[in-house]
């Protein structure tokens, strides 16, 4: 396979775009967070004296000019230091001059990454394995009863409220039948219900796109020409049409992976899954700003990485990009 400079230029440009976007998003998060009250007071509680608050504000650097704080934030972003959590009594450790790494928010959030990756990965793999055959099966017999049934079912998949479906799954398969645990983490059985709840939407969307993009391709002149050359139908569909239909399908799989990464926020909360999503909700609810920044950072980073992977896949599938 010929890969030339145009390909690398394309990827490099996308990579640069992602980095810029990440910095912009994190900057917006930084400024927004500075608008919602005094972190020092949040740490010390409402009973603290003005003097103690001012003291802590100075220690936390909140009395410095905004430009200086922002500069520090950017430097931290570049070096992977997004501040320290309020949660585990920051005040005590600051007073004690304790700089334990355990308080840094990014490592705390990073610890949760594997759980989220497992859940999102299982969901997407399962979805693709179900959706692709369904979509191709439907495309092979357009407007037939099975095709219509698959069409309605895939619409139903994207119409359902994920967390509601998750709760129904818990009610039926965990409470009623006790086949799976209601919540928790660690075994394969724990993954089943949350992954199932998250997979309905991607299954629906990927099925629809697989079907429609294959049908779109099958209506194009080059397919007619291939049929006219006596190429067997199966080969026409599998070699000619699928190769071109792959581009929208891969794009959709990427989009849905991103949706799953957002979907984990609620689903992890429901299943007590120790991932980034649940941590984000926790951090938001206790207003632990540095921790919020760290989780948002990781979520956005995941999304941008997926986008980048889709771009790479897209470049590989589209010869127009691959060879300039």
């Amino acid at each position: 396979m010929k890969i030339n400079n145009a390909f690398f230029a394309f990827i490099l440009k996308r990579l640069l775009n992602s980095v810029i976007l990440l910095v912009i998003v994190m900057s917006l998060v930084f400024f927004a967070n500075r608008q919602i009250g005094d972190p020092a007071r949040m740490v010390l509680g409402n009973g603290a004296s003005e003097e103690a608050v001012l003291n802590l504000r100075t220690q936390m650097g909140l009395e410095d000019p905004m430009s200086q704080q922002y500069g520090r934030f950017l430097y931290g972003l570049a070096t992977g230091d997004l501040g320290k959590t309020f949660r585990f009594g920051l005040s005590d450790s600051v007073r004690a001059g304790n700089d334990a790494n355990a308080l840094s928010t990014l490592p705390i959030a990073m610890d949760r990454l594997p759980a989220t990756l497992i859940l999102a990965g299982a969901t997407i793999i399962f979805s693709v394995l179900v959706a692709l055959p369904l979509g191709l099966y439907a495309a092979a017999r357009p407007r037939s009863p099975p095709d219509r049934a698959i069409g309605v079912l895939s619409l139903a998949g994207v119409s359902i409220v994920e967390y509601w479906f998750a709760l129904v799954l818990v009610l039926v398969f965990a409470v009623q039948f006790a086949w799976f645990p209601t919540s928790g983490y660690g075994t394969v059985a724990h993954v089943v219900l949350p992954a199932l709840a998250l997979s309905l939407r991607p299954i629906g969307r990927i099925t629809q796109i697989a079907r429609s993009s294959l049908l779109d391709e099958m209506a194009k002149p080059y397919i007619t020409a291939a049929k006219g050359r006596g190429i067997p139908m199966r080969r026409v569909a599998a070699v000619h049409a699928l190769k071109n239909a792959a581009i929208p399908i891969v794009t959709t799989i990427g989009d849905e992976t991103i949706n799953v990464v957002t979907g984990v926020i609620i689903i992890e909360t429901i299943f007590g899954w120790p991932g980034i999503g649940a941590l984000t909700v926790d951090a938001l609810s206790i207003r632990d700003i540095p921790l919020v920044e760290a989780t948002v950072f990781l979520l956005v980073l995941m999304v941008l990485t997926i986008n980048l992977l889709v771009d790479v896949a897209y470049a590989f599938l589209n010869p127009r990009l691959r060879i300039g």
């Binding site: 912009i24 998060v29 309605v152 619409l155």
Partner: protein, 309 residues
């Protein structure tokens, strides 16, 4: 092959504009879509006239009638025997009435957000596509940025900063969703900008505003309607999600998302408290998706003839 047969045999269908009668005929032939249309019509009507339609007040608790299953009778606060068709919630409030008022909140948020974001996004998209240059660059950069970060994540974070509630939710949805309309409108505008009828309008001295409003905009109504329908469905789901997490509508406002959220606590004892609002959302979004899907197929010149047959 569809293309070739359509173009070589029958130009009539390609040009033929589609009439109301065709649409109604096609609708009758697709019972599922017809049912969806009827369901949504009834839902919207009962949401508008909730005070008249709902059998009881959705907010007044009745602790003597708490968590009654569907089809239960209970003595109301005024001493009369009352039927709770869909049961009651933990505070003894009538589920059916709450669902009807919940429809009002959920649909209001979705419809107004879609309207605001649709108008905003379409205007920006048409302007970007029509004028090009730096206007287009700025708009499309913003679109790319918003597309790159999931809407729900932005909404969650911004609502965390500015707080939940009806107005904030609508503002946030409009902020994050205008981009989809802008992208669509720009694409169509670009394809129309160089066409003969736009050139002709320009030649006879029509103003730019007039060309955009009278010649370009009417050509994107169908795809915009399809997109808006899908977006309503998406926002009904998003409202439910955000309200569940506590960043959306605020109790005691009966919204479907909040009802599920409350019902979760009583999930094991009172299945209807969680099942019914979830079903309401499901049926609403499914109807919207079915209609959008069908409408798109009917409006597609290549596919249209199959649906009109």
């Amino acid at each position: 092959m569809i293309d070739e047969t359509a173009s070589t045999t029958d130009d009539t269908q390609r040009d033929a504009s589609i009439g109301y009668r065709d649409i109604i005929r096609a609708l009758v032939r697709d019972p599922l879509v017809l049912v969806s249309v009827i369901f949504l019509t009834l839902l919207i009507l009962s949401a508008i006239f909730a005070e008249i339609v709902a059998p009881m007040d959705p907010l007044i608790p009745n602790i003597f009638a708490s968590r009654l299953p569907p089809l239960s009778y209970a003595t109301g606060l005024d001493g009369t025997e009352q039927l709770h068709l869909l049961g009651t919630d933990a505070l003894g409030r009538d589920m059916l009435s709450r669902l009807i008022f919940g429809a009002r909140a959920s649909l209001f948020v979705a419809l107004v957000s879609v309207f605001v974001s649709g108008v905003l996004g379409t205007c920006l998209g048409v302007i970007a596509g029509y004028y090009g240059g730096w206007v287009e660059t700025v708009v499309m950069r913003a679109v790319d940025a918003f597309m790159a970060v999931p809407s729900l994540l932005i909404a969650l974070f911004v609502l965390f900063i500015i707080g939940g509630g009806l107005v904030n939710m609508i503002l946030i949805f409009a902020l994050v969703r205008w981009v989809v309309y802008a992208r669509l409108a720009r694409g169509i505008t670009l394809s129309l900008r160089e066409t003969q009828f736009v050139e002709a309008a320009r030649a006879i001295g029509a103003s730019n505003a007039r060309i955009m409003l009278r010649h370009i905009l009417p050509n994107m109504i169908s795809p915009l309607l399809v997109l808006a329908t899908l977006e309503i469905a998406l926002l009904v789901l998003a409202e439910a999600g955000l309200s569940f997490l506590g960043f959306g509508l605020v109790p005691p406002e009966p919204s479907w998302g909040l009802m599920i959220s409350r019902g979760r606590e009583y999930m094991r004892e009172a299945w209807w408290m969680i099942t019914l609002p979830g079903l309401a959302i499901f049926l609403t979004t499914l109807s919207l998706n079915l209609i959008a899907n069908w409408f798109r197929a009917v409006m597609d010149p290549v596919q249209r003839w199959r649906w009109l047959m």
